[in-house]
Symmetry: C2
Subunit: 475 residues, 2 copies
C-alpha cells in the first residue's frame, strides 16, 4: 500500500463504496486464509498487547472506568474478564472498555506507521472480550484480530495525516478495527458487518486537546473505541442499520473530519485485499515499541544512543541536540514539550532524549515522578530542539525516520540517521525480547503472580491451539 498516492478529500466516490468491499472481506476471512507468518506475527502482537494491558492497570482513569463499569454492567456469570481482576466477569462491552483503557497507559503498545495509529490497543481488548463472550477458540480469535488490524489500519491510512492533525486516529480509525473484530467473532455476514462499520464511523471521536493539559482522554479514546466497537457489532446483529458509505460518502468521515485541502487515500481501503500475500496484511506492517515513550521519539532515541555509544559520550558531554524529523512529530510533541507529568514527559522530545542520554535506554522503569524533578534531565531537555527535514517528511508516514545532530561541549559534532527504528518492520523484536519486555512491564505494574504471566506467555506462543480465551486475568 505504500506507493499509493493521496487524492483530494472531495474527489468522486465510486458507486460501490470501498468500505463495502472491506466489510465483505472482513466477514469472509477464514483462519485457513492466513499465511503462517501472519499467524505468528498476530501471536507476537497479542503478547505484546497483553503486557501493555497489565501495565496500565493502576492508572486513575482505569480505576474510574472500572468503577463506572461495575456500577452499570452485568457483573458475574457468563461474561468477559477484567484483566486486572481475576474472577470478576462482566458484559463484554465493559471488559473491552476497561481493558481498552488500560492498554494504552504506558505507551508501550504497537504502532502501525502508515496509518499513524496503535491497532493493538483497540483491536485486542474488543476481540478478547467478545471471544470470551461467545466461547471462541484460538483460531477464531486470531482470525478476528487479523481482520480488525486490516480494517483499522486501512481506515487510518485512508483518513491520512490531515485527519490525524485534528483527531486521535487510534480512536477514530480504531473503532472500525474493534468493530470488525467483534463482528467477526459474532459471525456477522458482510451486510451486517457493513452496517456495524457504518455505525462505528458515525461514533468516531477523539480530539488532541488532552495533550495540552495532561488529562485522561487518551484512555477514554481507546476505551470507548473498544466499547463502541462491541456496541456497533451487537446492534448490527440485532438489526440496527448503519450508513453504507461512512468513509467516502458526501456526509461521511472524509467530507466532515478531514480538513479542506488535506488528502485522503481511498485505494488504501481495498488495495491488495485477499490476494493471499503475507505482506499484504496490515499486521505485518505494525511495529513494536522498544522505548516507553511516544513513537515519534523512537528513531531520535535510537540515533542519539548510537552516537553516544559510538563516541563514548555521557550526558554531561552533550551541548546541543537537533532532531531532524517529520512535521507530525513536531506538531504532536510540541503540545507536551514541557513534560510536566510522567505521561506528558514521554511526549517531550527533550525529556525523552535526556532520559536516554542518562540511562542509555528509555524503558518503562525510567519515566518516574522522581525523574520529573531531576535537574540534570531538565537541563538536558533544554538543549534539544526539533526541525522538520524534507526527505524525512516525504518518507512519512510510511517510515518514521530521524536524523540527529549532536554538538558536544568540546565542540565536536556527530550525526546519525536512523531509517528504521528498533521494533519497526525489518527490525521487529524477537520473541526473547518480547518476553523480556512483557516481564519487565508486569514487574513495573506490580503483578503478584508472575507465574501466571509466564504461563500466559506460553499460551500466547500456542494461541492457535487454545480451546477458549479465558484465564488471561492475573493478580
Amino acid at each position: 500500500m505504500g506507493s499509493l498516492e493521496y487524492v483530494p478529500a472531495d474527489g468522486p466516490a465510486s458507486k460501490v463504496p470501498h468500505i463495502e468491499r472491506l466489510a465483505a472481506w472482513s466477514a469472509g476471512l477464514q483462519y485457513d486464509d492466513l499465511p503462517a507468518p501472519v499467524i505468528e506475527m498476530t501471536k507476537d502482537f497479542f503478547l505484546d498487547w497483553y503486557a501493555c494491558a497489565l501495565g496500565g492497570r493502576n492508572h486513575a482513569s482505569v480505576q474510574a472506568i472500572t468503577a463506572f463499569s461495575k456500577d452499570m454492567g452485568r457483573v458475574g456469570g457468563r461474561g468477559s474478564e477484567i484483566l486486572h481482576e481475576p474472577g470478576t466477569t462482566i458484559g463484554s462491552a465493559f471488559a473491552a472498555l476497561i481493558n481498552g483503557a488500560a492498554s494504552h497507559v504506558i505507551e508501550q503498545d504497537d504502532l502501525h506507521n502508515s496509518s499513524m495509529m496503535h491497532p493493538a490497543t483497540v483491536v485486542f481488548p474488543a476481540a478478547l472480550a467478545v471471544a470470551q463472550e461467545v466461547g471462541a477458540d484460538g483460531k477464531a480469535f486470531i482470525t478476528a484480530c487479523v481482520a480488525g488490524y486490516d480494517v483499522a489500519c486501512r481506515v487510518g491510512e485512508f483518513l491520512g495525516p490531515g485527519h490525524y492533525a485534528k483527531f486521535h486516529t487510534t480512536a477514530t480509525a480504531g473503532v472500525f478495527g474493534a468493530t470488525a473484530a467483534a463482528a467477526h467473532l459474532l459471525r456477522l455476514n458482510g451486510a451486517q458487518t457493513l452496517s456495524a462499520l457504518g455505525t462505528a464511523g458515525t461514533q468516531a471521536a477523539g480530539l488532541w486537546q488532552f495533550m495540552l493539559d495532561a488529562t485522561h482522554s487518551k484512555q477514554v479514546h481507546t476505551a470507548k473505541a473498544c466499547f463502541d466497537g462491541v456496541f456497533s457489532a451487537h446492534v448490527a446483529r440485532a438489526g440496527l442499520l448503519g450508513p453504507r458509505d461512512i468513509l467516502q460518502g458526501a456526509n461521511g468521515m472524509a467530507a466532515s473530519m478531514v480538513p479542506a485541502g488535506s488528502a485522503v487515500r481511498p485505494e488504501a481501503i481495498v488495495a491488495g485485499l485477499g490476494n493471499g500475500d503475507a505482506d499484504g496484511f496490515a499486521i505485518m506492517a505494525s511495529s513494536f515499541k522498544w522505548h516507553a515513550s511516544c513513537r515519534h521519539t523512537h528513531a531520535s532515541v535510537d540515533a542519539l544512543l548510537q552516537i553516544m555509544r559510538e563516541h563514548g559520550l555521557v550526558l554531561d558531554d552533550v551541548a546541543a541536540v537537533v532532531c531532524h524529523t517529520y512535521r507530525a512529530a513536531v506538531e504532536i510533541l510540541s503540545r507536551s514539550e514541557a513534560g510536566l507529568t510522567v505521561h506528558q514527559s514521554k511526549f517531550s522530545m527533550g525529556f525523552v532524549l535526556a532520559v536516554a542520554a542518562k540511562y542509555g535506554r528509555a524503558s518503562v522503569l525510567d519515566f518516574t515522578e522522581a525523574a520529573l524533578d531531576d535537574a540534570e534531565l531538565r537541563a538536558f531537555q533544554q538543549r534539544v530542539r526539533m526541525v522538520v527535514d524534507g526527505p524525512i517528511e516525504a518518507a512519512f508516514p510510511a517510515q518514521w525516520q530521524a536524523r540527529v545532530d549532536v554538538t558536544t561541549k568540546a565542540g565536536a559534532t556527530y550525526t546519525a540517521f536512523v531509517p528504521i527504528a528498533k521494533g519497526d518492520p525489518g527490525r521487529h523484536l524477537t520473541r526473547s525480547e518480547l518476553e523480556t519486555k512483557a516481564l519487565r512491564i508486569a514487574e513495573y505494574a506490580g503483578v503478584a503472580d508472575m507465574g501466571a504471566v509466564k504461563d500466559n506467555i506460553e499460551r500466547a506462543w500456542h494461541l492457535e491451539d487454545v480451546k477458549d480465551l479465558s484465564g488471561f486475568a492475573c493478580i
Copy 2:
C-alpha cells in the same frame, strides 16, 4: 444571545476558558434560582419529551439497542426505568441509552432554534435515568434539566452553522447537556463538572451520512449522547480528568470540528449566565413541534396551510410551490428529498407539503407506509422546490422562517410569509395542545394503558412536588 456576532474559529481564546465559567454556573445552579416561568416551561418540555419517548418505542433501532443493553447492563434491583418496559430496571447509562434512542424517532421533540439542536432528546433521558439512580426529587430534576438545556444549547450556538453542516449538533452539543444534567444530579462540583464536560467533548460525534440512505444513526446519536453523558459524569466523579478547554482550546472542538472559514460564537457560551432573567435561560427559547416532520419544513407548512385555508384551495388546485427558506434547510432536506421511507419522507419538503396539502395537517398519524405509495402525494411532491432567500437566511438560526409562493392550475399566485412557526417562542403550544399532542402520540405508539399516560401528564404539571421520578414507564 440573539444579537451576538460570530467570530472566526481561530480567534484567540481567553485565558479562563468560557467553558470553565459555564461548568461552575451549571454545578452551582439551585432550584431557588429559577424564575417561575422557567420552571413551568421545563414541565411543558418534559411532558412533550415524555410523549416522544413513548412514541419511538417500536422502532427497530430502539429494539436493537434495548437487546444490547439487556445483554450488557445490570438489569434489576436499584436502577433506572426503560420507559417502554414497566418493571424492568437497568443501570442508568443504559436507561439513558434506550430512552435516548426512542426520544427522537417520531420527530416530534423540541428544537432550540439558534443552536440548531434538539435539547429534550438528549437532556431528559440522561436526567431521568440519573434522577432515578440517585433518588432525586422533582425540584432537583427540574434544576438539572434547566442546566442541561443551557449547557447543550450554548455549546450548539458556539459551534454554529459551520459545524452543523458537517455534524449532527444534537449529538455533538447534546452530549454536553446530558453530561451537565447528570453531573448536577450526581452533585459534582465545578471542577468535576468541567472534567466531565471535557470528557464529553472529546467523545462528541455524529455525522449526517445516515440521511443519504435512511439508516438508523440518528437514534444512535441521541442514544450515545445520553450514554456518554452519564459516563462522563460518573467517571469524573471517580477521578477521571477531562481536558479543561475542549471548546476553544488549540486542539479542541472549534479547532477540529468547525470547518476552516466558518465562524464560532464564544460569547454564546457565557452571555447572561446567572443574571436571573427568565428569558436568559435556554429552555425559554426552545420551540415545540406541532407538525411531525423535520423542523426545517414547519414554517413552510404553516405558510402553505395559511394560503390554502385563506383561498379555499385543495391539493389538486396547486400547480407549483416555491419555498423561500434558509441555506441549512436546503442542505439538510436535499439529502432526503426522495422521501423513500417513512422517516425520510418527513425530511422531504415536497412530500411534507404534499401531506399538509392533502390532510390539512402533518401529524404523526399522516406519515405512513401507505402514504409512501400514494400517487397523489408523489405527484404533488414533484411540484415543490426550495430556494434560499436573503433576508430569511440572514435571520437564521435565530429564527426559522419561510415564505411560500403557490401558483394554482387556474393561474393565480399567492404568497404567505411566516416569521414565527407554530410552536416557536411567541407561539408556544398551550398545555391543552400539549396534552392533545401527547395523547395522540401515545395512541400512535400503541400504548395500552392510556390511564397511566394521563396520570403522568398530571404528574408532569406538578413535577416540582414529586418525591422521586420513578413510575413513568408504561405498557
